[in-house]
Amino acid sequence: MKLLTLNFLTCAIKSCKSTPASFPLHPRDAELEIVEADLNILFLKNILPRLMWDELRVIGSELGLPELPSTPPTREDLVEPSTTAIAAPTSDGTRDAGEEEEEEIPTQTAKDLHRVLLETCIKEGKLVCGNCGHEYKVLEGVANFLLPGHLV
């Protein structure tokens, strides 16, 4: 399961969901794997404003990953400046989003972000709720949020 998923996950128990302590879920005994994927700058730019950066930093440090910067990167941080110039509006002011996407070259920051969010996956382990302590298992890269009957 790619780490980006954790940005959108909390405890499945209803009474937990609204408590701040239930987000993010905390990985425990996690075995990580890298599943390579194509880097898509536009996708990274678009997902940036949705990231709960501080929480992702917590998860990263709990997993023993290299520390994420204290502030999230900006859209500009993801693209090599030389390519940004090429993608600037033309004289008639038009700008083709498709071309822009093709011409942009990812910075190291973009590569690092892609690596952490989309290629770093939890293969085995648990995700623990910080509020109730319930543990959700991750097996073969699949996190399982089915609850036992008494917790539904």
């Binding site: 405890c11 969901k17 997902i47 996190a143």
Partner: protein, 255 residues
């Protein structure tokens, strides 16, 4: 109350979940074309939107738009193992009445051919409510600015389908899924069981197996019933219609 809820859940466990778990690989090898309404909904999303596919099955709709991010969920771990291969999306095992997502966090959601598997009116309304809870609320001054969800269910009115159900027929039915060898010819996606088989051709054809019949529980929706459930769940219907033996609705939260 708690007992009856557990009974309903275990009924669905036997007549829905365990069937999908067993037919997962076959289900995934059968042919499929996306339903136009679902495809349109997903392709019209703005780039970068984030959403949930509640009851994503093998993830057939995760392939439609790779410029958005979708967390798919399903009760069947065998289906999720297939669904999780769709980059850049994600897939988890979860129950649609106990979804592990922070409330109000998604721009969109889809739930295609899912809530008709719930066996009581109360649970079907609860399923709609669970989807509405996922969506970003609308901003006060702009109606329609909040997240929206597409819900798609099997219709009672389908007299031209192979099954021939229509107005007046019993709405709670058991529908056979016949698991045959790979020689089975594909049928038009608009007809019969095949139409609920949400699969793609991406996988290798299933190995030949002996014929085996599984029965799945379905609630067939009458005209207007889905919209009523949405209203009862506290939501708003923005658009709704009928497509190929199914009722659908695009829904959101009230301002």
């Amino acid at each position: 109350m708690a007992d009856s809820v557990n009974q309903d859940a275990s009924y669905e466990e036997e007549h829905v979940h365990s069937v999908y778990e067993q037919i997962a690989s076959h289900f995934s090898s059968t042919r499929y074309k996306p339903w136009p309404i679902v495809e349109r909904f997903l392709t019209e999303l703005p780039d970068g939107a984030v959403g949930a596919d509640v009851g994503c099955g093998n993830g057939k709709y995760l392939g439609v738009n790779t410029k958005v991010f979708i967390v798919g969920s399903d009760r069947s771990s065998n289906l999720i193992k297939i669904a999780k291969q769709h980059h850049p999306h994600s897939a988890i095992v979860a129950d649609n009445l106990s979804l592990p997502h922070p409330p109000s966090s998604f721009d969109f959601a889809i739930s295609i051919a899912v809530i008709h598997h719930l066996s009581t009116p109360a649970r079907r309304v609860e399923a709609v409510k669970a989807i509405l809870t996922l969506l970003r609320p609308p901003t006060r001054d702009r109606a329609g600015s909040g997240g929206k969800a597409l819900i798609y269910v099997w219709a009672l009115e389908q007299k031209d389908s192979r099954r021939g159900w229509d107005e007046g027929h019993e709405q709670d039915v058991m529908v056979p899924w016949v698991m045959k060898g790979k020689k089975e010819k594909s049928q038009k996606p608009t007809k019969g069981v095949r139409q609920t088989a949400e699969e793609m051709v991406r996988e290798e054809p299933a190995k030949p197996t002996e014929d085996k019949t599984f029965l799945r529980y379905y609630h067939l929706y009458k005209k207007g019933e889905l919209e009523n459930d949405v209203i009862e769940a506290g939501g708003k219907v923005m658009e709704s219609g009928y497509e190929k033996d199914n009722w659908w609705a695009i829904v959101g939260n009230k301002v």
